[in-house]
């Protein structure tokens, strides 16, 4: 048995691959659910109902999908250029922290403050990824290691700040940072829900990223550099500039995720505000085959798993950690599925 490269990947396979990956992941996870003593079909039924069964659950799911779209875009942009940004989680947190810090005492009206805070969050995320990108370009330091480890440093730093200088004196129990001023809370998209207009920003961001990647010179250079770096270099495309540009864009998107989450949902920063949005963004990007439109769909799916798992856990007693297992399995099965879209099996 051997693998043979397909000369062309047909469209139906491109669409089928993530579906098959998700199905396989759910199948594998059902073994664990059964081991917990619950009928997997019942559990998945509860999951679906919990995420999509009511107006409230749908808005809750979309609230969860919003940061995932941003972090998914961040990963997709970077991975297309073979920049392995595993640091979405850290970039999310610096974006959130900078937004809360500046937004707490910024004395301008909301219509100007909100864009400013978004820019601040983007700048923070971009700056955090610029370091690893520079180290890779200058010294060949593996960015997988640096970006991954920076996540832990950033989260510990956030912990330091919210128990120290940025501590909210009015918060009880869990330490939290000072909240953003009420002027900078994003308006609700659906009344009496947590869903805010950040979802629209996220969808707009997906459109903008698509436009940049598909239509601009920068996008074309990124594609070339990602697919064949030496040919791109031979053609006069500056690899350092391209990689750095990609790093800034990717970091900015992940930082924006944190910024929007603070202004839209949490107001203050806590170390538990992200159930792994940065890491899940990698899964989202992979399930989307790195396509911006696919990112929106994949984010909705992953959010469904996250939100649905909580409901399932309440109803059936299966630990909600199963959500992390399912999402992680999706990444593995999607990688296998991608293999089968580019190669065919022959005897």
């Amino acid at each position: 048995m051997r693998l043979e490269r397909r000369s062309n990947v047909p469209l139906h396979l491109v669409i089928l691959a993530p579906l098959a990956a998700v199905f396989t992941a759910l199948l594998l996870a059902s073994g664990l659910i059964a081991a917990a003593g619950v009928n997997p079909l019942t559990a998945y039924g509860e999951m679906l109902r919990g995420a999509l069964g009511s107006r409230l659950s749908i808005t809750e799911m979309l609230t969860r999908a919003t940061p995932l779209i941003f972090t998914g875009l961040a990963a997709a942009v970077a991975f297309r250029a073979r920049l392995w940004n595993i640091g979405g989680e850290g970039q999310f947190f610096v974006g959130a922290l900078v937004t809360a810090w500046i937004g707490h005492s910024l004395g301008v009206p909301g219509w100007i403050g909100i864009p400013l805070l978004m820019l601040a969050g983007m700048a923070a995320g971009a700056a955090l990824l610029a370091g690893p990108a520079f180290l890779r370009l200058r010294f060949g330091v593996d960015e997988v290691v640096t970006t991954l480890l920076l996540n832990f440093i950033v989260i510990l730093f956030v912990g330091l700040m919210i128990e120290g200088p940025l501590r909210d004196p009015l918060a009880f129990g869990w330490p939290s940072s000072v909240p953003v001023d009420g002027n900078y809370r994003l308006p609700d998209l659906v009344p009496r829900s947590r869903l805010h207009i950040g979802l629209l920003f996220a969808i707009a961001a997906a459109g903008a990223v698509w436009l940049v990647l598909a239509r601009t010179v920068f996008g074309a250079e990124t594609r070339a550099a990602g697919l064949n770096a030496s040919a791109a270099e031979f053609a006069g495309i500056s690899l350092p500039k391209t990689i750095m540009g990609v790093a800034l864009l990717s970091g900015a998107l992940a930082g924006l995720a944190g910024s929007v989450e603070v202004m839209g949902v949490t107001a203050g920063v806590t170390t538990t505000m992200s159930p792994g949005f940065g890491y899940a963004g990698i899964v989202v990007a992979m399930l989307a085959a790195l396509h911006p439109a696919g990112v929106v769909a994949a984010a909705v799916f992953v959010a469904t798993v996250f939100v649905g798992a909580d409901a399932m856990s309440r109803a059936t007693g299966v630990p909600s950690f199963i959500a992390d297992v399912i999402v992680a399995l999706c990444l593995l099965t999607m990688i296998v599925a991608l293999l089968f879209t580019t190669y065919r099996v022959r005897r």
């Binding site: 010179v217 996008g219 791109a232 006069g236 005897r347």
Partner: protein, 506 residues
């Protein structure tokens, strides 16, 4: 006579492509068979089936009358088949002996039997006339010596049938001749040999029998003594292909001048005190054995490497430190040595590849957005002008044949009206028809006044196209000679580095 090898009715398909179509081939004891064919004719596929790297879709392989199970290299080795790959499979950080032993000892063995292995290796080396130093590190060996180690590796596993894939691709002519003498001696020790080649002269010189593959089919078999190079060429290509002829014309003013250029990479001198001048309407040929500094010269003229000392000027502008984009802007067109690695991005479309070098010019972008319409129209023009077949602007370029891919690269270079063109191994791996087309384009560019530097390992090509020729040896360039004075013997001497003391010997 005993048949040591019988391939019967071998068919192998890769997707829609039939690489081997009902091929039948036999080999006699003590015979040297040349497997001749153009690139893509299916030679290597056939040998990989024989060796068990691939499993045939149909057909059988028999070695000494025993049928081999398909797809098992181990079975082929066990039956006495040895293969010497075109790209060596040696570990540079191990010694000759260690490389030879590698894979022939069971992993479970506690102590390695170095002593015995060494004795066996030396016996074989003695018997077949292949002298080696068993304790030398492979990385310190020359290319010819490495090939010897590859052959010994096969013999160490008791190979009685040896397959050599393009064995002379990396060798200089004297080395190649020596190799064929050695191979002839080896047949006297009872070995049978198949060597793969697309070079007519070595097939004529070294084989007993020739099998010609074309488009996956076995089209002819000839006793070498009963055929000639002309007949074989026609059989190989399937028709008569005439390469274009260079006509003398007036050479103009200097365009590209290298003055005492030195290039270093990783502390090693790659080019040393290199000077040359290319004039308007002139093709300057650089000949030499692979690995003598051609890569550094190509990188310099592409803008990827910069002189540590000395100067490179293009139309009186210092271009040594400009980088690829600056070189292009200064009027240089570059055809890279390796199409797939440097020439194109395989997963991108024709049009994206066609404008890759000029994405940031107003012709193909406005306010940071790519002008896709203009790019597609331009690509359509190239397809028509340069006769690129089987493609539309949106076709992914890796689906093109090597010849058509090269035509696109040439088109993107020549349509830009370059003052200077670097043509680095422009016909490597192309079939006869495509070679003729590439030669015609280069000669047309010369007629229009471009200054062209041709780096080639094919002497025939260099002599046919060049007005003047210089040889590159160990990073140094010989003085130029006019193409009219270039005969194979003199070029052979130049490529061996004999030029300083022996300028007019030939």
């Amino acid at each position: 006579m005993t048949k040591v090898l019988e391939l019967h009715g071998i068919t192998k398909r890769f997707g829609a492509l039939t690489a081997n179509d009902d091929v039948t081939l036999t080999l006699d004891q003590g015979e040297i068979l040349a497997l001749l064919g153009e690139n893509g004719a299916g030679k290597t596929t056939l040998m990989n089936i024989l060796f068990g790297h691939y499993a045939a879709d149909e057909g059988t392989v028999r070695v000494f009358g025993q049928e081999l199970p398909p797809g098992l290299p181990r079975a082929a080795i066990g039956a006495g088949v040895g293969m010497v790959h075109q790209h060596f499979t040696l570990a540079g950080n191990l010694t000759v002996l260690e490389n030879v032993m590698l894979g022939s000892e069971p992993l479970t063995r506690v102590k390695s039997a170095r002593g015995e292995a060494r004795k066996k290796l030396m016996d074989i080396a003695e018997r077949f006339g292949l002298p080696v130093k068993p304790e030398a590190k492979v990385s310190s060996l020359s290319v010819g010596e490495r090939q010897r180690v590859e052959i010994l590796k096969a013999l160490y596993r008791d190979a009685r049938v040896l397959i050599l894939d393009e064995p002379t691709a990396v060798l200089a002519r004297p080395e190649a001749q020596k190799l064929f003498e050695t191979l002839r001696d080896m047949t006297k020790e009872g070995l049978s040999l198949i060597f793969i080649s697309h070079k007519l002269h070595e097939v004529m010189a070294a084989s007993d029998r020739v099998a010609v593959l074309r488009g996956g089919k076995m089209v002819a078999e000839r006793k070498t003594a009963q055929t000639n190079a002309g007949e074989l060429a026609e059989l190989m290509v399937g028709r008569k292909v005439e390469r274009p002829v260079r006509h003398d014309h007036q050479i103009g003013a200097p365009v590209l001048v290298a003055d005492k250029v030195r290039i270093e990479d990783g502390g090693q001198t790659q080019l040393d005190d290199v000077s040359f001048t290319v004039h308007t309407g002139e093709i300057l040929g650089i000949v030499g054995v692979s690995g003598n500094g051609q890569a550094a010269l190509g990188a310099l003229l592409s803008g990827l490497a910069h002189p540590a000392s000395g100067a490179l000027t293009l139309a009186d502008q210092d271009v040594g430190h400009l980088g690829p984009r600056g070189m292009i802007r200064a009027g240089a067109g570059r055809v890279p040595e390796d199409r797939h690695a440097e020439g194109v991005v395989g997963e991108l479309s024709l049009w994206e590849n066609a404008v890759l070098e000029r994405l940031r010019t107003p012709e193909f972008s406005r306010r940071g957005f790519v002008r896709q319409g203009a790019a597609r129209a331009y690509t359509n023009d190239l397809i028509k002008r340069f006769d690129i077949r089987g493609a539309a602007p949106d076709t992914r370029i890796r689906l093109l044949s090597g010849g058509n891919m090269q035509k696109l690269i040439l088109g993107r270079v020549l349509s830009n009206g370059p003052r200077f063109v670097l043509a680095n191994q422009p016909t490597r791996g192309l079939d006869e028809g495509a070679i003729a087309a590439v030669h015609a384009e280069l000669l047309a560019a010369r007629a229009e006044g471009a200054a062209i530097l041709l780096i080639s390992e094919e002497l025939e090509e260099a002599v046919a196209l060049s007005d003047r020729i210089q040889a590159i040896v160990k990073g140094r360039l010989s003085d130029p000679i006019s193409a009219d004075e270039a005969d194979p013997q003199r070029l052979g001497l130049m490529m061996a580095g004999v030029w300083t003391e022996d300028e007019n010997a030939a």
